[in-house]
Structure formats: C-alpha cells, structure tokens
C-alpha cells in the first residue's frame, strides 16, 4: 500500500469522523427543538400571499401582531402561533396592503389576496435586500419591474449587468462579460435559471446576457453564507427566476427597442390550475448595421435570439408540476474582401421538470427535479483552399431531490441530494487543405458529480439565531478517454493511457461546512457572522484577452485539482425610520486554493495537452462593503461602496510573488436613484465609479532572430514586447452616469391594453472608458504608440413596451 493511499485513507477517515460528529450534534439539536415545539400550545399557519390572478407575490412583508416577517420567493410563509386571536397584515411593493383579524384554533392555511396598484411606479428599487429578521447575509434580491426602471445600455434590461451595481459584485469593465464576486473569477458563480445551471450566460461576447427581461420575475444574488443545498462554485449563487403564465386569461406583452425586440404570450392551460408562458427575443443588429454602416460592415452580420418557455400545473393544493425551457443562440458571420469566410454559432439549451410536493400539514415539503443543460459552439473558417471546422460542447444531465421540514417558525431542517452526469467535448477540428483533409478530435471527457446535504436553522436564544449546514460533495472523472501521460517536468511524454467506459480516472470528495449566526441587537439592528467552505470541480479555460465562446470547461482530474474557497464574513445591519432607510456594513475574507491559470501564450483550442498548459496557485480576497438604501417615498435608491483587494500567487508567474488579480478593483461605488414624479413619469439615474482593471503592460522592447541581407546591407529582426511584473499597470478609472425616463400614458377609461415609453441615455457626460489598450508597433517606421479602444460614448436609446 503506497504512502499516498495511506494518506488518502487517513484523510478520508478524518473527514468521516468530522461528518459523524457534526451530524450527531445536528440531530441532537433537532430532537430538542422538536420536543420543545411539541410541548407548546401553538398552531402552525401556512400563509400564501397571492395577487388577483392567483400568482404568488414574491418577498411580500407579513406583519403578525406587530412582528414583521418576510415571505419567500413563492409568497409563502410558515409561522407558529399561539391559539387565539391575531392580527395579520400583508404588504408588498406595488400592492395595496391587506389586513386580517383571525382566530386560530388549529393548523391552517391562509391565502391573502393583494390588489395591485395600477401604474404604481417604483418607490422601492430593492424589494428585500436585507431583513433583520431573516438569516440572509450577503444577499440581494431585485424585482424585474424595478430592474426595468434602471437605465442600461441601449435600453436592454439585463439582470446580470444590473446586479453589478451592488457592492461586492463587479463586472469586467465596459461591456465586459463575467461577474466577479468578492475576488472570484467569472466561472466561480453558479448562475441558475429556474434552478438550472447556465454555462455561458452571455450574448455578443458579454455585451448582453441571455436573460430576456420579458420572461424574468426576479433575480437574487448570494455572495457568501451559501446555502448547503448549493455547491459546485466558489463565489456566488446568482438565481434568475422566470415568471409563470397567467392562469386567468390569455395575455400578450412585449417591447420594441433600438437593437432588439421581445414578445411574450401567456395564458391558462387549465383555468386557475395550469398556465404557460412563451417569450422570445431577437436582436436586429445585423439589419441596423446593413443600413447604417454597409460600407464598413458589408454583408457581415451578427444576431442573437432567446426563447424561454414555462408551464406549470397545480395538481392539487399540495402538488405542483413545473416545466422550464430555454434555447438561445448567437450567430456570427464575416467575409473579408478576399472572400474568406468565418462563421460561428454558440448557445445554451436548458430544460427542467420539477415536481413540488407539500404534505397536508404544510410543514414538510419536497421537490424532485430532472434537468438537462448544454452549451455548444460550432465555427467554420474558410481561407483560400483551406477550411477549418471547430466544435466544442458541454452537456449535463441532473437529478435532485430537496426536502424541507419546518415544524415551527423557530426551527427548520433541510436536506437533499443531487447527481450530475457531465459530458465535455473540449474540441474537434476538421481541416481541409486542398484535397487533403485532417481531422483532429480532442478526447471527450466524462464525470459524475454528486452531493448530499443537511442544514438546520434554529433559535439558540431570544437574540441569537443560527443556521448550520453540511454539504458533502463527490466528483469522479471517468472514461472512456485517452489521456496524455506527463513527465515530472509537466511535459507530455508522447505516450497515452486508455480508460474504458466508466473506469475511474480521478476522484475527489470534500465536506463543505456552512455556518451563519444572527445576533439581534434590537428590533432594528443586528450583527451577522458567516463561514462557508465551497468546492468547484469544473474550471473554465479562457483566453486572457476576451471571453470568447471558445472558452472550454475542464473537469478536475489527475492533474487538475478542484478549486477550494473558504470565506468568513461579518456584518452589521440596521433599519431606521420605520424601515425606510437601511444601512449595512459587511467585511469579508476569502481564501482560494487550486486556482487555475494558463501558461503564457497557451494554445487552448484543439490542444490534446491542455492540462499541460495549466498552472495552479492560490488566491486571497478581502474587503469592506458599505450599503445605504432608501426604500420608500418618491425618491428611492441606494449607494454602495466596496473597498477591496484581490491577489493571486503562482510559482511559475511573477517569480512566485503575489500579484493583483486582473479584476482587482480597489474602489468600487454605485449610486442608484429613482424618482417618481407622477403616475405618468418616473426618472432614474445611475452613477458608477471603479478603479481601473489591472493589466500586464510591457516594460521594454526586445529585438531577436536577427538576420543580415548582405547585398542590401540591412539587418532584419523581430521586435517583441518585454514584460516584467504581472498586472503591473492600471487602466484609467472607470466612471459614467446614465439617466432614464419612463413615461406611461394614463387613460381615463380602464383598458386592457397598456404601454410605456422608456428613454435612456447611457454615459451622459461622454466619458471615454477604455475597453482595452495595446501598443501599436510600426516595424517600418520603427515607432510605437499607445492605443486605447473605447466602446460607448454618449448613447441614447428609446424603447416601447406594451401589455395586452
């Protein structure tokens, strides 16, 4: 038995002992809480907050005898009451509140119907960013109706762009793709559409996301204090929920914008029981470019489309079926003056079927989901007599089962399991040169990923509440595949080893503990503390310059280790003036291990030896996030500020010394303001400021590969940039302001048809924020010049939205 095997067994045994002690303690706590609950003279009431068309009102506020609580995203709240008379008031933004006097003698379910205020424009931009009574640290939620009021580039509502206005969540720069949360990379966010992972959430190389505002209900972000039910990514969970169809009548809604249009049709399949909604969006950038820039663009074109579909069926009060579907594609074509053609198509397809069940008592719930999600890329390049075809794909099949037991408002228990089968197609190429054809196929990869979890929320004392959880994850890369064998120096030996179907190549397993403590200082203030450990088994191979859809997902294997993160956060939260104002300050420290970077100049496409192109290192991120919000009144909005540092260390880079991560942004500030002038007019503005991204800029020029033309008496050489420290340069600071006005015509008669106009100006004071910079070298003139490319000057946009 080898030393490594013994060490693995010892580590495994230690992990098992840790798990056993943790589970034993958790079960003991559960028993104590259950006994306490059983002895009380209480009844359990399940409160459902619905609108007039029987759709749940997300994140409604429920006031019970003066104690304010928050319903969940499906409008539900489970609460224990003493028997007798109670006063319940439900309210939500955009709705008239509802008051109910009730006498409770036994467990019951209450449906509270709220009436929507017509044309009630935003007076709260964040509906439930923070709530002192909920253990939700590092969490934000945005309602789509409010998202639509925030000014965005070209008027395209984009939840991923908008959440970067929140502290601790950064984008990659002007029109950059990728979300960077507390020092993590863009692949370290679990982006979910109706609980289904999305691998590539971007269109047009990151200019826009794949999420159609017409189909979305809400977006929420959790950047710490991770739920044990979720894993597989290190930095955050970004959850986008689509809305369900109208169960009452057929409806049409849509919008026409400057570069895209969208349309939704929804309605009942079975009145008040089942509904459907189908939303589509297509950009017409290609058509606009042909009209306005035919000389420059010619017949080249680009467009994208998204199709979202959802169907739900309430079998009975306790059982519900949901089906979600999404398909989106980017299509790009380019032909130069020599008739060389380049085509590329890429996109996601996801589908999920979920059965949600609730036991008659309402205390026990479960959901079972079957999920399919895939991302694929096809490209073609024709040059002279040569043709190149490149394809790559990643496909997942997933099942999961989640349980929730809430015997009282003071205690809950959640558990579940998850299994994913991954298929990776890192690349296949078909190259034709004249009459000869070469096929290159990078071996497909397969892996299983599984997890079980258990978590519990309980009250330790009157002021102290805790949520503890343990997620245990397992990952196993399996055959069939052919693996390159590397020598000790990390160079391929030219030999390979074959793995049969299902044969294990490498496996990993980790416990992932989660802990949250919530200490109530007063009815309006609290302190929260959280710790979590997360594991990521998939890494994204991306070029440094741009996140092109040729990015490849690589599973953990013999050489590629899983990424590990441990994060500690502490925060102070306070509401004032009857919850009109909210303030918070959070500090965090995150430690990252097995962070992947690619060797300089790495060839990522069609490279059988891609593992040999990787380096592994560590990361560290820490910072303070300040947030102040006004939630009510004619003027609402927030100010968010983050002071942070993010760095990486690799033995092979920067002489092993730590260097700033590319998206290390020392200062990051966002100001969002919304003013409701009247029922017709609403105005909003955004101002953002951020330290420029870190770049590696050359420190000198080196001439090499010298040759001499004897007859002409000249020397020839190649001039190259010379680099010293990694990320030794900062782009200029990024800042801009946007404004938006929404006009909603009001008709004296109540009509089924309604519309609104949206006027946006992006980058009001025409700030030239760099998209990228480079050194332009002229070999003939022997000169060099710094060049800055910037994208969006002051950019107006107009859009029209309608509902029928």
């Amino acid at each position: 038995m080898s030393v490594r095997t013994i060490l693995n067994m010892t580590t495994g045994m230690r992990n098992l002992r840790t798990i056993y002690c943790f589970v034993k303690a958790l079960l003991l706590l559960c028993c104590l809480q259950c006994m306490h609950t059983a002895n009380a003279q209480t009844v359990t009431v399940s409160i459902h907050v619905l609108n007039s068309i029987h759709m749940p009102v997300s994140n409604a506020t429920v006031d019970i005898d003066g104690n304010r609580m928050l319903a969940d995203s499906s409008g539900k709240l489970l609460q224990a009451f003493t028997k007798g008379n109670h006063l319940i008031e439900a309210s939500a933004v955009g709705y008239y509140s509802r008051l109910l006097h009730i006498t409770l003698l036994s467990d019951t379910t209450i449906n509270l119907m709220l009436i929507q205020k017509e044309n009630e424009l935003s007076n709260i931009v964040i509906t439930a960013g923070k709530n002192n009574n909920k253990n939700e640290m590092s969490f934000y939620s945005l309602d789509i109706d409010r998202l639509k009021k925030i000014p965005v580039i070209l008027g395209e509502t984009d939840p991923l762009k908008t959440i970067t206005l929140l502290p601790g969540i950064k984008n990659g720069g002007e029109a950059g793709s990728g979300i960077y949360v507390r020092g993590g990379g863009p692949d370290q966010n679990l982006i979910l559409l109706d609980d289904i992972p999305v691998y590539n959430p971007n269109h047009l190389l990151g200019f826009f996301s794949v999420f159609n505002g017409e189909a979305i209900k809400s977006v929420s972000v959790k950047k710490g204090d991770m739920d044990a039910a979720y894993g597989g990514r290190l930095s955050s969970i970004i959850s986008i929920d689509t809305r369900e169809g109208d169960k009452d009548s057929l409806k049409l809604s849509g919008g026409i914008g400057l570069i895209s249009s969208k349309l939704s049709i929804e309605g009942p399949l079975v009145k008040n029981k089942a509904s459907f909604i189908i939303s589509g969006r297509r950009t017409y950038i290609d058509q606009v470019a042909k009209v306005f820039a035919k000389k420059r663009i010619g017949n080249n074109g680009y467009y994208f489309y998204d199709i979202n579909g959802k169907a739900d069926y309430e079998i009975n009060d306790n059982n519900k079926l949901l089906f979600t579907f999404y398909n989106g594609k980017d299509k790009f074509s380019y032909t130069n003056d020599k008739n060389n053609l380049f085509n590329a198509n890429w996109g996601n397809t996801i589908a999920g079927l979920t059965w949600k069940q609730q036991m008659p008592s309402g205390k026990l719930k479960q959901s079972v989901s079957m999920i399919y999600n895939a991302f694929d890329l096809d490209s073609y390049y024709g040059y002279d007599l040569s043709d190149y075809i490149f394809t790559s794909a990643v496909t997942d099949y997933q099942v999961k089962n989640d349980w929730s037991y809430t015997p009282s408002g003071k205690f809950n228990l959640n558990w579940g399991l998850q299994y994913i089968w991954h298929q990776f197609k890192p690349g296949a190429g078909d190259i034709t040169q004249g009459i000869l054809e070469f096929k290159t196929e990078i071996n497909n990869q397969y892996a299983r990923e599984a997890a079980i979890y258990l978590s519990s929320g309980f009250r330790i004392s009157r002021r102290l509440r805790a949520t503890t959880g343990l997620r245990y994850s397992y990952f196993n890369q399996v055959g069939p595949t052919e693996r390159v064998i590397y020598n000790e120096d990390g160079n391929p030996t030219g030999e390979t080893e074959l793995y049969k179907k299902g044969e294990s190549i490498a496996h990993y397993q980790y416990p992932e503990p989660r802990l949250n403590l919530d200490y109530t200082l007063s009815s309006v203030s609290s302190i929260k503390l959280s710790y979590n450990k997360t594991i990521q088994y998939l890494h994204l191979a991306t070029t440094s310059g741009a996140t092109f859809p040729s990015d490849i997902w690589i599973p953990a294997g013999q050489i590629v280790q899983p990424g590990i993160a441990q994060q500690v956060s502490i925060g102070y939260f306070r509401n004032t003036h009857s919850n009109i104002y909210h303030f918070s300050a959070e500090a965090y420290y995150k430690d990252l291990d097995n962070q992947v970077e690619f060797k300089q100049g790495a060839q990522l496409l069609l490279n059988q030896n891609i593992e040999g192109e990787m380096m592994f290192g560590k990361g560290k991120a820490y910072g303070i996030e300040l947030f102040a919000e006004k939630k009510k009144g004619k003027l609402t909005g927030w100010v968010g500020y983050t002071l942070s540092r993010t760095q990486r260390t690799y033995a092979e880079m920067n002489d092993g010394k730590p260097f700033p991560y590319r998206y290390d942004r020392t200062h990051d500030m966002s100001v969002v303001a919304n003013y409701t002038l009247s029922r017709q007019w609403n105005f909003s503005t955004v101002f953002v400021f951020g330290t420029g991204n870190a770049l590696t800029m050359p420190t000198g020029r080196v001439n090499y590969n010298v040759g001499f033309n004897v007859s002409q008496r000249t020397a020839s050489y190649t001039s190259m940039n010379q680099y010293n420290e990694i990320n030794n340069y900062r782009l200029p600071a990024y800042h801009r302001a946007d404004i938006c006005a929404t006009y909603t015509p009001i008709s004296k008669k109540k009509k089924r048809f309604s519309s609104s106009w949206n006027f946006n100006i992006y980058n009001v004071y025409n700030r030239r924020n760099p998209y990228f910079i480079y050194m332009d070298i002229n070999q003939t003139e022997k000169s060099l010049q710094g060049k800055m490319v910037y994208l969006f000057p002051i950019t107006p946009a107009i859009g029209w939205n309608f509902k029928f």
Binding site: Y388, Q433, P492, F548, Q600, T699, S719, M720, M788, L791
Partner: protein
C-alpha cells in the same frame, strides 16, 4: 506540424466587429522606467561554422519610441566544449575554449555588425574555426561591465531527413506558380524530440545569420502527440517554381524548443486582446534574456517543381 493547424486569429475578427461601435485614440500610456535587459542570441551548430555566433544587445525601454536594437560592444564572450560523464556531470575542456571577437566577417556589413561576436579563426584559420560536434556540450560565458552570464547547450545527434517532397502547388495573386515543401523523417522512439526548421533559397541566398534563413516566425515541431511516428511536415511558406531550396532541420533540446515556442507566441502578442508572453530564457544571470541554441543539423536540397 502544430503551426499548420492553428485556427484563424479570432481576436482580429472580433476587433473588426468592434469597429462598428468602438472608437480608438492615441494616448500616453505612461509606463514606468525599467532597466534595460541584456539580450543574448547565441548559436552553436554542427553544420555551418560561420553560423556559430553570439549577438549581444540591450532591450529598449518602453518610453523610447524607437525599436532599433542597442548593440553591446566590448563584451568578453567565450565558448568552451565539454563532455558528459557517467555521473551526469559535465567536464569542460579549457583547451577547447574559443574567445569570440566582434565580427569582421565580410558577410556581416560594417555599420550593422556591432554586437555580433564570431570566432576570428573563421577568417584567419577556417579549418580550426569553432565547430559544433554532436554529443558534446557547450558552455557560453559572457562578461559585460563586470557582470557574468552563462548558458549550456548540448548538441544532440542530427535526425536524418528521409527525403523532401514538393506539394500543395498553387498560383499566387501575382500569377507566380508556387509550391510548398514537406519534410519526411522518422521521429526517434525517445520522447521529447523537438526540431527547428530553416531554409536557404534564392530570396535569402546572399544573407547571413539564422534569422535570415526562413520567415520571422520560427517553424518548430515536437513529438508530444506522435512520438516515434514517421513524420510528414509541410511548411506553409510558398517557394517559387524552379527555386532551389536547401532545407535544414535542427534537432534541439527541450529548453531551446521552449524558448523559440515562447518567441513565436511573444511576436504575436502585440495586438489587442493578446496575452502577454515573456521569453523562456535559458541564460543565467541578472537582468538577461535570450537563448543559447544548440542546433544538430541535417540538411537536404530540392528544386521546387
């Protein structure tokens, strides 16, 4: 040959797309001052004695808009020969040491020969000029302003070229008939074999230096994916019909291959959306970059038909 399978430069195509919305302007990057590096381009080979030379220069600082080379003169440059012993140590033969002097070779015109060091015996006693021997090791020692820099280069055994063939004939835009050369050889069964490729033909007949024997891009190959196979590698360079080509295949060690591979990547990392690449130098010392390349040459000649 990995270079033939390289996908189109997608970054350039994306940049063209960005022209629709993007604008560009000149600006003063304002980079900080750094000390110039010593740049060493040194060769020892088994075939062409005149091409055993060392070029020393200083890197340009980034604020200097000129990209012309800064030659380093009056350096002490010495190459010694040695043998590998059974205990894996190298014993250097001090009697074999050759002091290279700033060149006066007629092929290297005066005025541009600064910083180029060759064996004076090339003109005074060509029979005794520095010549690389397969199986031997070579030590390069450089002293510039009191600072010492060293490098070691073994010379492997040349890999025989089985034959050259002409393929992929085409007509160029100006109507010239051209074709490409395929080199055919058997890769040794040992792993880690790497090659560099050079050629002389009518266009560079009257030229000097390895940098003139081929394109600016150094054509390379390694046997990572096809160790021990019979190799047929086609050079994408088009030769004119009727041209006589002498094709050189240099068998090199891994560190030399890595340097020239990094050179190929670095020469392409100037444009937008590119990844910074540093040269993987095999020269020891402070503030120095470059490569001492040991080239075990096999050659063949063909006429493009």
């Amino acid at each position: 040959m990995t270079d033939s399978y390289k996908l189109p430069n997608i970054a350039i195509i994306i940049s063209l797309l960005l022209l629709f919305t993007g604008c560009e302007k000149n600006f003063d990057i304002g980079l900080g001052h750094t000390e110039p590096q010593l740049v060493v381009e040194a060769y020892i080979n088994t075939e062409i004695p005149a091409y055993n030379y060392v070029i020393l220069s200083k890197s340009q600082t980034i604020e200097n808009t000129s990209i012309a080379s800064i030659p380093v003169k009056n350096a002490l440059v010495k190459i010694s020969e040695g043998s590998l012993m059974q205990n894996n140590t190298i014993v250097w033969d001090s009697s074999s040491s050759v002091i290279l002097k700033e060149t006066t070779l007629p092929d290297v015109p005066a005025g541009i020969s600064d910083g180029i060091y060759t064996d004076p015996n090339l003109q005074t006693d060509p029979a005794r000029a520095l010549r690389g021997i397969a199986g031997k090791y070579y030590l390069l020692e450089i002293e510039v302003n009191g600072e010492i820099f060293t490098a070691t280069a073994p010379l492997l055994s040349p890999i025989p070229i089985d034959h050259l063939s002409t393929d992929y004939h085409y007509t160029d835009e100006d109507g010239t008939s051209k074709g490409r050369i395929t080199v055919n050889f058997k890769d040794p069964d040992t792993t880690g074999n790497c090659q560099l490729f050079y050629w002389r033909h009518s266009d560079n007949q009257k030229s000097f230096g390895w940098g003139s024997l081929g394109t600016r891009k150094r054509i390379t190959n390694s046997d990572e994916n096809n160790n021990g196979s019979y190799m047929r590698l086609t050079n994408s360079y088009g030769f004119v019909k009727g041209d006589s080509i002498t094709y050189y295949m240099a068998n090199v060690t891994r560190d030399v291959y890595n340097f020239w591979d990094s050179y190929n990547k670095a020469r392409n990392s100037n444009g937008p959306l590119s990844t910074p690449v540093s040269l993987l130098s095999n020269i020891s010392g402070n503030n120095v970059t470059g490569c001492f390349s040991g080239l075990a040459i096999s050659a063949a000649t063909i006429i493009m038909d």
